[in-house]
């Protein structure tokens, strides 16, 4: 897993509540058996017109957000289906961190399994970032996982919570399976105990 420590980037705004994973990656693109190849289909129904041309009205298509690695969204971001294809698609679009007031649980877990950081901030802080990202071009923030802060050089100085275990995994780029397998003995003894019951 790629490490996440600190990231400074242009912010792309998606000012909508309840953006669900069906929107992030529609079902017709879930048939791939690889973890890659989803990026071009992210937000497909909003992003492209009937003939496959980029929809000029979809905000993430605007030139001023090109190259953004940080997405700011509305509340309950990533709701619905458990498809991990959603974070895979967002990562291929270039996003490494998402800022919102809340995330759906499964989506949030899926992000962190892939080295992408979901950042929960207060509503007023998200509103500030959203407004500044919408207003001009080139608006940047810095997400620092070590200090658990989001700053923008324009007075925003927000802090966020993150589970210490997940934080360490993200900073070190560790994958869960490897860590859990070091607890093999505990699993063995649980299974012995369980076998007596079932």
């Amino acid at each position: 897993m790629e490490k996440f420590t600190q990231l400074t980037s242009i912010v792309a705004p998606l000012d909508r509540a309840n953006v669900d994973t069906d929107q992030i990656i529609p079902k017709q693109f879930l048939k791939r058996i690889e973890r890659t190849g989803f990026g071009e289909f992210a937000f497909f129904d909003w992003r492209y017109l009937e003939d496959g041309v980029p929809n000029p009205d979809f905000i993430l298509n605007e030139e001023r957000y090109a190259g953004a690695n940080i997405l700011v969204g509305g509340r309950n971001f990533g709701s619905g289906s458990s498809r991990e294809h959603a974070p895979w698609a967002l990562m291929e679009m270039g996003f490494k961190a998402i800022i919102a007031t809340s995330f759906a649980d499964i989506f949030r877990n899926n992000c962190m399994q892939n080295g992408m950081l979901p950042v929960i901030l207060q509503e007023s802080e998200v509103d500030t970032i959203m407004a500044r990202a919408l207003r001009g071009s080139g608006y940047k923030v810095t997400v620092d996982l070590e200090s658990q802060t989001v700053t923008d050089g324009q007075g925003l100085n927000a802090s966020f919570e993150v589970d210490p275990f997940r934080k360490n995994s993200l900073i070190e780029g560790l994958d869960d399976v490897g860590i859990t397998l070091t607890l093999g003995e505990a699993i063995d003894s649980f299974e012995e105990k369980r076998a007596a019951l079932w």
């Binding site: 309840n18 069906d22 048939k31 058996i33 690889e34 289906s81 991990e84 809340s102 699993i187």
Partner: protein
């Protein structure tokens, strides 16, 4: 100290709780399907790992399989076929049981788990599918996971989980004729919104829940995820045990009696504390219809389409605006005046034999409106066989319904069953997201009885007024 059912199951499954880490909990049953597993098996291969407990892992094909009979010979869509073939190869290579398209046990993963008796009270159950919450109807702690976590469970039979909070959702009172479990859960999500339960495990209690049959309880637990909670629970009781008795993988004879004794201990203790409580009175509950593009945007059948101005929160106002535009609906329109083009009776929410019986009672002796295309996709091949034995297929077919094979089908439109842009569908499924049933398709979530009645009349009607034969 008095404990909730969640706390009991949780504590029984803690493998390790290392300092500063989320608990590692043991998984008793892992359900696998073709869409969210290929990358997980590939991950095992790349790290030279095996499936730790193939005996606790079962798989089926449900999400992308067509619902016509040709699927047994060949799935025509090459990409879908490749995904199914990949699951076949993975199950063979790793020794996992697969219920393929030619098996009577094939079906939607959340239908076959209980139907075959794999799902049992007190278990922890996971699947790479958010509707895994369904199995909570048996008093098992069941939740959806992503593909990386699927790989983790395959490799270790455990999962790392931060302990969620608990909420009691109490349904008091008694349901009126024509009002169903689907209406209970739609009403609950309508009250709290689609993120109202995020971070919680919900336990459903109250008289109205105790009286529900297992299919109804599964419908409620199934849609728990639509309120943001990953798991819903209902205490197992005699209705549960009677439903389970004799199913293929349920213990038999004395072993069953012993198991029941243990299962009875699972219910939350008197006076157990929940972090939160929501009460819903079922005495006045009406059939519900969703009008928007998330399952929290619902109305009673006697209501009218709301105006965005009816909402206070700016995000709700803008959600309602977007939804009405997408759905092609005007504020003030009576729900009963909304005409439908399609009717879908299916999905892990409402395609069990009980659901098909309920819909068939509405349909019996009547004809589908000439403006409507109506389809039934039974939840499993076994469900389909039972329905055919009971003659339900004839009732549906004589009325003009298509009677098809089982699978997730038009709930998510991964197979060829989709809406075309602008089509409006009364659907017994669980999600009315934009494009869920096909790009530009408009989904209204309803109960099987309400869907069946809409098929006959061509628009939504109040099934409480329906006269059955």
């Amino acid at each position: 100290m008095a404990k909730t059912m969640f706390e009991k199951i949780w504590e029984q499954h803690i493998v390790a709780e290392p300092e500063g880490q989320p608990a590692l909990i043991y998984i008793d049953l892992h359900l696998v399907h073709e869409v969210t597993s290929p990358q997980a098996f590939e991950g095992l291969r790349l790290s030279n790992r095996k499936v730790r407990r193939p005996d606790l892992t079962i798989s089926t094909v449900d999400h992308n399989v067509p619902t016509d009979e040709t699927r047994v010979d060949e799935i025509k869509d090459p990409i879908a076929r490749q995904q199914v073939d990949t699951l076949r190869r993975n199950c063979e290579d790793f020794g996992v049981t697969l219920y393929d398209v030619d098996s009577s046990a094939q079906g939607i993963v959340h239908v076959i788990g209980p139907e075959q008796g794999y799902t049992q009270p007190g278990m922890t159950i996971v699947c790479g599918d958010s509707h895994t919450s369904t199995h909570g109807a048996f008093g098992s702690l069941a939740f959806g996971i992503g593909t990386s976590e699927v790989e983790h469970v395959l490799a270790t039979q455990t999962l790392r989980q931060a302990k969620p909070k608990t909420m009691e959702v109490r349904f008091d009172g008694e349901l009126k004729q024509g009002v169903t479990a689907k209406d209970m859960i739609l009403a609950a999500i309508g009250k709290l919104g689609t993120a109202g339960w995020t971070g919680y495990v919900v336990e459903y209690t109250g008289d109205a829940v105790k009286k529900l049959d297992m299919a109804g309880r599964m419908t409620i637990c199934n849609m728990t995820i639509e309120g943001g909670a990953r798991a819903g629970l209902i205490a197992p009781d005699d209705i549960t045990f009677d439903w389970m008795r004799g199913r293929k993988f349920v213990p038999r004879g004395e072993k069953f009696d012993q198991a029941v004794k243990q299962w009875r201990q699972l219910a939350s203790d008197e006076g157990a504390d929940y972090d939160s409580l929501l009460k819903i009175d079922c005495n006045d509950l009406e059939p519900h219809v969703s009008w928007g593009t998330n399952p929290g945007q619902v109305a009673k059948i006697s209501d009218r389409i709301p105006s965005p101005d009816d909402f206070n929160d700016p995000a709700d106002v803008s959600s309602a605006k977007n939804a009405l535009e997408y759905m092609g609906l005007d504020s003030g329109t009576a729900i009963e005046d909304i005409a439908v083009d399609r009717v879908f009776i299916g999905s892990c929410t409402n395609a069990r034999i009980e659901d098909l019986r309920s819909a068939s009672e509405i349909v019996k002796g009547r004809k589908v409106a000439s403006t409507v295309r109506a389809q039934v996709m039974p939840g499993s091949t076994l469900t389909k066989m039972i329905a055919e034995k009971e003659g339900l297929d004839d009732i549906f077919k004589e009325a003009g319904f298509e009677w098809r094979e089982s699978g997730c089908s038009m709930c998510l439109g991964m197979n060829p069953d989709i809406l075309v842009p602008g089509e409006r569908c009364a659907s017994t499924s669980n999600r009315n997201f934009e494009g869920r049933q096909g790009k530009g398709g408009r989904t209204h979530l309803v109960s099987p009885a309400m869907a069946a009645a809409a098929a006959i009349e061509g628009h939504f009607v109040d099934v409480r007024d329906w006269e059955t034969e």
